[in-house]
Subunit: 327 residues, 2 copies
Amino acid sequence: MARELIEDSEAFITEVCWHYYVNEMTQAEVARLMDVTRLRVNQAIQRARQLGMVKIQIESPFTTRIEMQESLKSTLGIDRAVVTPANRDAYDYHQPTGAALAALLTERLRAGGWSSFGVSWGLTLDAAIARLTKQNHPDLEVVSILGGTAQGSSFNSFGIASGFARALGAHYSILTAPIYLSEGLDRDLFLSQFALREHFQKFDNLDAVLLTCSNVSNKSFLVSHGLPNELTPASLIEQGAIGDVLGQFLDKDGNSVSKAVDDRAVGMLLEKVQRVPEKIMAAAGPHKVEIIRAACKRGLVDTLVTDDVTAELLMSAELSDAPPTAK
Amino acid sequence: MARELIEDSEAFITEVCWHYYVNEMTQAEVARLMDVTRLRVNQAIQRARQLGMVKIQIESPFTTRIEMQESLKSTLGIDRAVVTPANRDAYDYHQPTGAALAALLTERLRAGGWSSFGVSWGLTLDAAIARLTKQNHPDLEVVSILGGTAQGSSFNSFGIASGFARALGAHYSILTAPIYLSEGLDRDLFLSQFALREHFQKFDNLDAVLLTCSNVSNKSFLVSHGLPNELTPASLIEQGAIGDVLGQFLDKDGNSVSKAVDDRAVGMLLEKVQRVPEKIMAAAGPHKVEIIRAACKRGLVDTLVTDDVTAELLMSAELSDAPPTAK
DNA sequence: CCGCAATTCATGCATTTGTAAACTGATTCA
DNA sequence: TGAATCAGTTTACAAATGCATGAATTGCGG
């Protein structure tokens, strides 16, 4: 049962957090000072964390796992790898990967030179938004490069682009379309609508893209919620698909599997992605190992943000699977 | 037992903090995962906090104490007041005041429009630096507006200006001079040195200044360590001094007390400070109530950053002390 | 090889934190 | 009126944390 309206005002939560985090008082002390129950203080702090009101930042997040990053770079043939330490017991890849992506993005934006970048969507990007601290890039535009699903979750197309834009103090441009066209609808005709045509033109001038990927299983939100009824996971697997990038399915060598499906995907085509100057993929989880590898082979990745669990698998899988070739 | 040399390197501390803060593991879990003692993990986290590697930011620090801020504004006749909740038991005003100043500064810089600002020095500004997250303002210059003391602490003139510049990604310019000239040394002659003359010219174009103040007691670092031998606190008090701003002493109405002393202070003159577009004073503590009030009367303050303890005293003192006049 | 000094480790314990269950007191509604 | 509902408090307790203590280990000079 959804019980809402336990309305502790933002001011109350803020003051509690201030005492707790800045003044380093105990929860009991805060409770006594503010004349409330300790329970309320405890809840307020948890709410604040949940709402992302307190942002905990670790300076220099890239100094760990350096050796891994180096070997991962050469193994996958990419320009840069960021490997974060994951929690192996309560394994959740979204949070650490998102946090690392947020830090990386902040650093890249600080370096300057970007006037727009594209974003897909997913839980990893949602986690990154929650970790971003407020910034100000009035001349930056966040461009959605993938249609959305009917379920309007926060990690859906609209929420991701606007979330990045809000945190970064930037503009955004949304792809107001479903991720897959109905069967039989002509792609070119559909995309010729004025609003979409204008949006698609932005794809040609992106300075960077933030990509994610997923495998073909019900762990993938796209597969479990976004696929049209006629497209079954089984049929995709039959064609050799091991996962998707931007709704377009690849086999284990990074080749497109089905032109029929790709043509129905509303978003940036992979051919166009390959021409973007900076391609950052954030993806982690054992089930994504193969599709990450495929995306790298396809040349869709300059920088990979992942965790150590996935990194290890990526390297061992690569070794056991691929024949020894000249690099 | 595998006995490896576990250095307390930055990488180690970073990874511990990553697990603890991002992955929300317990210290014991982190210890087990990384194969070290729990004590080491505990110490690493404390070290990280102490070193300022983990920055905890609270999103909206200005929403608390709103009523107080409003009444403080009208009581003191200033444009803006930021009142932070202090820890009344283990009373330390530097941390919360510094944290609030850091947040305010970040916001003002995000708004844009500053090309340089002046800083004095002191523990409050040191605390603000520790709270600042890394930013990038390549066209910004931090200008030291007060000479330093012989003791080269981190909160001394050099450390403060360079600290702000490092955190903000800005340039800085140092006032390489003692805070007080030797007795008898001609001010104009001394300041005519090329390096100093150039520096002093920057005072004319500052967009803002970050000021502090102190009373006349050994709580004041300036008084206890920076005063020339011939200048005793007693003699200053005798002349009616209740505290200083930039090494220049004021009486309770904000009038300069001793031209002789002021002339020996190497820094921005208060007359010049009054012409700066944005004057931000960060000061808290019961012993600073009178000098804060005096500084406001003198017109040295547009924005006051303080804590609730001091704010209350400021308002009650104002009421009890001043004759009832028309607002 | 021994013993001394300096670390580092294991252990124990008091405090703090997170969470569930029982309680209270007001409000609603049959 | 009195049971049901609900918001919030109190109580209780297990887990996590911070810290101190003595034991064990290491380095090193004699």
